[in-house]
């Protein structure tokens, strides 16, 4: 009846080994301490039961013992703290050359958009052994992007981007869950990550489904919304020149310097007054509520592409 009865998740990313390694070590250590307590309680309660040991021996306590069971667990804990933090930092920093997928969560589906323009719903095709960076935002409530086989999870928030990344190491299909409760069909907000070998992936890309690359779409939105009237090239417009801006530090009018990453560009569109570039007047209107989450991603992708000498997304893929 129940043929499929696994007790451990699949392991299909570079990170999975690291997480499992730490997990097993921690399991062994905590198993040891649990066993220690269980055995001690069992031995004491048998050996010193009232019928054989009617006269208790009063003991005040022991400072060396107290120190030992304060400091030893603390020391062990610090090892796990350091190791766990290392893994976490790796997870938090996507490699520079990772291919980028734009993810939008909404009640109750996942929307994916490739740089090359392919759009998918509840399914994400990616090539094996390639770093994949996910730039995610939500259209409504908080969701969470969780792929057990990759051991990654990141909440997807409305109003800003969050990021995570992975490198799938095994061809196959893996479950994607929304793990942050998001309403009625939370448990239906599932999907699959289809990891393909590079040839098959190229074939899949060739199938079509792409309506122009994402930066190209962004360019269209850019024109339609009239952004180009101010953001002209070579500093001729009333707004800053956007070419070559992405990924570089930007001097703000309030003296701060920030790096123009996805979140900065997004904020600059939705909330321009907050982080005006130095030397420009804060005259840009807010586009909050006027641009959909998908178009926003496209705009950001377009502005990002302006920073690359060869904005040819497909050539990067090899």
């Amino acid at each position: 009846m129940w043929i499929n009865f696994p007790l451990f998740p699949q392991r299909a990313s570079a990170m999975a080994w690291q997480v499992d390694g730490l997990f097993f070590l921690l399991l062994a250590v905590s198993g040891f301490f649990t066993l220690l307590i269980f055995v001690l309680i069992f031995v004491f309660s048998v050996k010193y039961r009232r019928s054989v040991h009617p006269h208790p021996v009063q003991i005040e306590g022991s400072l060396p013992l107290e120190m030992a069971w304060t400091l030893i667990p603390l020391g062990i804990c610090m090892i796990f703290f350091a190791w766990g933090s290392l893994i976490y930092f790796q997870e938090a920093r996507p490699p520079q050359d990772a291919m980028q997928i734009w993810v939008v969560g909404k009640q109750w589906m996942w929307k994916f958009e490739h740089e090359t323009g392919q759009r998918e719903i509840d399914q994400l095709h990616i090539p094996v052994n390639r770093d994949v960076k996910l730039v995610m935002s939500s259209q409504d409530v908080v969701h969470s992007f969780f792929v057990p086989a990759f051991r990654i999870k990141q909440d997807v928030l409305p109003g800003r981007y969050t990021q995570t990344w992975f490198r799938a190491t095994k061809v196959g299909s893996y479950q994607l869950f929304c793990s942050q409760y998001c309403g009625t069909n939370h448990s239906q907000m599932i999907g699959e990550i289809i990891v393909m070998d590079p040839m098959a992936y190229q074939a899949w890309l060739g199938l079509g489904g792409a309506s122009g690359s994402l930066p190209a779409n962004g360019r269209q939105v850019f024109q339609q919304m009239g952004c180009a009237s101010c953001h002209r090239s070579h500093g001729q417009g009333t707004g800053p020149d956007l070419a070559g801006m992405f990924g570089k530090p930007v001097q703000l009018s309030d003296g701060r310097t920030v790096v123009a990453d996805e979140d900065y560009v997004r904020n600059a569109i939705l909330n321009p007054g907050a982080q005006t570039v130095a030397g420009y007047k804060p005259i840009m209107p807010s586009f909050q509520g006027q641009v959909s989450e998908d178009n926003l991603d496209a705009l950001v992708a377009y502005i990002k592409s302006l920073a690359q000498p060869q904005p040819n997304a497909t050539s990067q893929m090899q």
Binding site: N271, G273, A274, T276, P282, I283, P285, S286, Q288
Partner: protein, 227 residues
Amino acid sequence: MATSDIQIAEHALQHHFADMEQQRETASFGMWAFLLTEVMFFGGMFCAYLVYRAAYYQAFVQGSQRMDLLAGAVNTAVLICSSLTMALAVRAAKMGKSKTVVTFLLITILFAFAFLVIKGFEYHGHWVDHQFPGPNFHFEPLKGPAVDPLHTEIFFSLYWVMTGLHALHVIVGIMLITWLVTVILRGRVSAHYYNPVDTVGLYWHFVDLVWIYLFPLFYLISKQHGS
């Protein structure tokens, strides 16, 4: 007089206390512990204020320019005066002068009402100007750069919630002091037993204390940019 004082005290000593001193200290300590709770209650909102002020500073500056500085400053003075009269009421209670206590408490109530009336006029002004958060919110900056009206709306949300809860505390304070006056008029308080005056006094000073922080945080954000 002295004997009746002691009778009042005997009557007021609850069965589970050993003596008046224990009962007095317990009451005062209990009130302080309650104020601990109150600090954290307002603390949650101060936390929200801090986060958004850091994020939307310009919007906060412009929201602050719409505050009625004169009304805020007068209200600060009014509450400080009420604190003084409350402190004097406690002092009179310790000396056993019931009539003076009642007089000072009534003056305190008057100040409290004055505070509410001034606050009410301010609220009315903001309401008329659509500075109440919600669908009807509308904000035109007086001066300075354009800011997202949503961010000034957050400023006004915090303003209404924080000063609103403070005003609620003032109203509760008025009720407590009124109750206190009736208790004293019924002769339940003496130099040997003035716990209620003491604890209500602590509460009232705390209400003043909160306003001392609310005033600069809402009315005094960077006035020079607007003038």
